[in-house]
């Protein structure tokens, strides 16, 4: 028997195990997936949970129920990978050998990495929403918040779902308006980036949406520490942003066992070839989803499109054939804008998000980089697709590679971050 071992039964690990179990010869292959718990959480729901759209139970299913029969599911903590011996050591001493290893343990918010974040104000006036308990606690805090300074903050890039903190900001602003208290709240968006988002055209569009909603932006802010006594964010260049309610996205890091195994970069992401997801160091190790260092958004969408390419490549690779598929960094995501409206963006390694329509040029039904109620309903409908189409590894009728059809290229805005034009004497 040939042994395929998948570490992590989240979005990427589950999709890949299910897809490969449909395609690999079951008599010749043993597929095993390892995870530390039995709760598969629909992570896109974290954004809407604080606003009462979902309850925690709406977002969780047992991992076993979304993994196909015939795939072994092992529960345990991963201690380390030993690539020389082709084996994985679990915390309780069990050893799992492999012929091929797929690392899919994602990325995790790490509030412990910023001094003061986990201090006396954690879950009192400082909240995160990228975890089920964080998002649930924040729902209560938002209910009670009736005036003061709301600060939405990103610690450092890259983060999982990089538009989510902006969406949270739009949704909070709309919720305060609906409750008739918008004039009693000051909202500030604090980011390490030079503007609202990472790519110029989308950044300009999203930046003007922040302006329209009277949300202040504090750009180029690299947080050094949080002072829980004075409730202040303090940056490395000694700027201070005071808050009454802080919603922060902590530093995101890959799993610690990756560092212990010598497989990661400084944030514990596995360096891979960005087109094949094959480890730069070991030919029989791949990293998929958020766990790798590929330069695209850490998101379920990128995981999905990359798994489509990866599956074909892997089937060739195990037959000794060259991998001919190349992942282009394709990602798309719905962006909640508040008031029941949403946007959609679609991009890859080389092409930034552009206006237009998706997936059918001119028809859509979804509008790219513009607000509509249809985009909002698309986002809500996606939860059903996630459980019933994406995770089981059924085909979704969307091309894995990004297409330029239906996109328009506007004149690029001036880069606000231009060192030369701004600071040249």
């Amino acid at each position: 028997m040939r042994r395929l071992l998948v570490l992590g039964a989240g979005t990427a690990g589950t999709m890949v195990a299910n897809k490969l179990s449909r395609r690999l010869d079951r008599a010749a292959w043993q597929i095993t997936v390892v995870d530390q718990d039995d709760e598969h959480v629909y992570q896109p729901g974290f954004l809407l949970l604080p606003f009462g759209v979902y309850q925690p139970d709406d977002l969780v299913k047992p991992r076993r129920s979304v993994i196909r029969g015939g795939v072994d599911l092992v529960r345990g903590e991963i201690d380390r990978v030993n690539p020389e011996l082709n084996e994985v050591l679990l915390g309780d001493g069990r050893r799992l050998g492999y012929d091929y290893l797929i690392i899919a343990t994602g990325t995790t918010p790490r509030p412990d990495q910023t001094p003061g974040m986990l201090g006396s104000q954690w879950r009192k006036s400082i909240f995160d929403f990228y975890s089920l308990d964080g998002a649930t606690a924040l729902a209560g805090a938002l209910q009670e918040f009736d005036h003061g300074r709301l600060v939405v903050h990103v610690t450092d890039m890259p983060i999982k779902c990089p538009v989510a903190p902006l969406e949270f900001t739009f949704l909070a602003e709309a919720a305060f308006r609906a409750r008739g208290m918008r004039d009693r709240v000051e909202i500030t968006y604090v980011t390490p980036l030079p503007g609202a988002f990472t790519k110029p055209i989308a950044s300009q569009q999203l930046g003007s949406m922040l302006d329209d909603r009277k949300i202040a932006v504090e750009p180029d802010f690299m947080v050094e520490r949080i002072d829980p006594e004075t409730k202040t964010l303090i940056s490395y260049d000694e700027r201070e942003v005071p808050f009454d309610l802080l919603v922060t996205v902590p530093l995101n890091m890959g799993a610690d066992y990756i560092a212990r195994s010598g497989l990661g970069d400084e944030l514990n992401y596995v360096p891979v070839d960005k087109h094949t997801l094959q480890s730069m160091a070991h030919g029989n190790i791949f990293a998929i989803g958020d766990a790798s260092n590929i330069p695209t958004s850490k998101s379920g969408s990128a995981a999905h499109f990359s798994v489509e390419i990866f599956t074909g490549n892997f089937l060739r690779h195990v037959q000794g054939l060259p991998m001919t598929g190349t992942f282009d960094g394709h990602t798309n995501c719905f962006i909640e804008a508040g008031d029941g409206r949403g946007m959609l963006i679609d991009f890859n390694y080389d092409t930034e998000p552009l206006p237009g329509s998706y997936p059918v040029p001119g028809l859509g039904p979804f509008g790219l980089l513009r607000e509509s109620t249809r985009n909002h309903w698309g986002k809500l409908a996606f939860r059903w697709l996630y459980w019933h189409v994406l995770l089981p590894g059924r085909p979704l009728p969307l091309p894995a590679h990004m297409s330029m059809a239906g996109k328009h290229v506007p004149k690029p805005p001036d880069d606000p971050d231009n060192v030369m034009t701004k600071e040249q004497p």
Partner: protein, 104 residues
Amino acid sequence: MSIATIGAASVHVDAEGFLTEYDEWNEDLGTQLAARIGIELTDVHWRVINFLRADYQTLGETATLRRVSIQADVPVKELFRLFPGKPAKKMAYIAGLPKPVGCV
């Protein structure tokens, strides 16, 4: 892409003035690029610049602040003092490297 004259040298630069050819850079050019953004290079600056140059040659991309801080052993706070305002961009500019992508 265009050609810029920096001191006695003619080099290829992008729209923002970042060098586009790794091999067109030398230490003298680094000093002049630094002067253009108001920075006088000390030994610690050079430790950072030399790390960035070597790291780029190995990995093919410009190191992030966090990576520089860990690998070249210069605290992030110090990087902000050495290259005020936008340290990641300024370091890359002086080192003749593309501005760091990292953020997607």
